[in-house]
């Protein structure tokens, strides 16, 4: 089939010259071609054609009389590849099946499918369908490569803030957010304290009680900053990372589980804290 698809003129010539040899050379081709096709079933069209080209070249070399005309033919085919293929393949498949029937019963079942698939591809060869097909397969097999980041793993729940009296805020789902971010809750809480310039404690239900009034929106921006600084990988933007503390140099390192890169992160510093409220008595 591949032979025919690419070199119709060459094929004709061969037929007229030595039909016996031609059939012999063509019959082994489909089995190898099908094997290659199986391998690349989930991949793009382009690869398939290249593999076919290889097989084609092999056949060409196998045929005995390589002349200048043949060369020019193959060169011409390079430009006209697609058109000729479209027009020819429908005829070829029937031709093929007949040959396959001769070859053996087992091959028919598998190769018949392949032929059908091939027909389908040829008929709907538009870029859109191919692209959607490629992405469908990619999503099924490995969704991470398809840019599917909205998985349940990396969806961060919105912070829940309740007021506790008039001066305190309860941050209810710190624990949950910390587990989603794969961080130690202590680390996250430390960052929140440093960034908000407050102090607080964890109550019985593992909720965080912060001193001061904070809106969920404000907490969100702080969390975003935390994620940017301590969670996302700067190289691949993945959030599937791990924070490790190296005991040798007492530095925190962020290692990405997706791409394997490592970078050091600065430790959390509270910085200057202004004296608020009643001043200390002068000694």
């Amino acid at each position: 089939m591949s032979d025919l698809g690419f070199d119709p003129t060459l094929k004709k010539k061969k037929k007229s010259k030595k039909p016996a040899e031609d059939s012999a050379s063509a019959s082994p081709a489909p089995s190898t071609d099908a094997g290659v096709e199986d391998m690349f079933a989930g991949l793009k069209k382009k690869k398939k054609s290249s593999s076919k080209k290889l097989a084609d070249d092999l056949l060409d070399s196998a045929s005995k009389s390589p002349s200048v005309e043949d060369l020019s033919d193959s060169l011409g085919d390079l430009t006209l590849k697609k058109k000729k293929k479209k027009s020819k393949t429908t005829v070829d498949t029937t031709d093929f099946e007949a040959q396959l029937e001769e070859a053996g019963v087992e091959d028919i079942s598998t190769n018949g499918e392949e032929a059908e698939e091939e027909k389908e591809i040829v008929s709907g060869l538009s870029y859109q369908t191919l692209l959607s097909r490629f992405f469908d397969l990619l999503k099924v097999n490995n969704p991470e490569l398809a840019g599917d980041r909205s998985g349940p793993k990396f969806r961060i729940p919105p912070p829940l803030c309740q007021r506790d009296g008039s001066k305190k805020t309860i941050f209810a789902n710190v624990q949950e957010i910390a587990t989603v971010l794969q961080r130690n809750p202590e680390h996250l809480i430390q960052f929140l304290f440093a960034e908000l310039g407050t102090s607080g404690s964890i109550d019985g239900e593992k909720r965080l009680v912060l001193k001061g009034k904070f809106q969920p929106k404000q907490m969100e921006s702080v969390l975003r900053r935390y994620i940017l600084e301590y969670v996302t990988c700067k190289t691949c933007k993945s959030m599937n990372t791990e924070l490790k503390r190296e005991s040798a140099n007492r530095l925190h390192f962020l290692s990405c589980k997706a791409c394997g890169s490592t970078r050091s992160v600065s430790s959390i510093k509270t910085g200057f804290q202004a004296q608020i409220g009643r001043r200390r008595r002068t000694e």
Binding site: Q215, V222, F272, A274
Partner: protein
């Protein structure tokens, strides 16, 4: 061989003299909550070549707020301003003093 000799002429790991990586030259602008709706802005790490007193005088007039300079043992002199002046302060530092924006870090919510 010539390529290897080429390599020896330039050491990529040599100290270039850039102190970009130094964390000390960051200017931190923080906010703290006080009683009620009141807040306090602190500016930490303004380079020594600037006269903090003069900066404070301008800031107080521009933002119409009070403020003062606090001396800290570890962090040096810190400007304190009443109210949430974080965005205004960073704008002032970048436009009037020509400080690079990447050196300014705004903290808080």
């Amino acid at each position: 061989m010539s390529t290897i000799q080429n390599l020896t002429s330039f050491d990529p790991f040599a100290d270039t003299g850039d102190s970009e990586a130094q964390p000390t030259n960051y200017i931190h602008i923080r906010i703290q909550q006080r009683n009620g709706r009141k807040t306090l802005t602190t500016v930490q790490g303004v380079p020594n070549e600037y006269d903090l007193k003069k900066i404070l005088k301008v800031l107080k007039k521009d933002f119409a707020c009070n403020g003062n300079i606090v001396k800290d043992d570890e962090l040096g002199e810190v400007i304190q301003l009443q109210g949430d002046q974080r965005v205004k302060v960073s704008e002032f530092l970048t436009t009037q003093l020509q400080l690079p924006k990447k050196n300014i870090k705004i903290h808080g919510f």
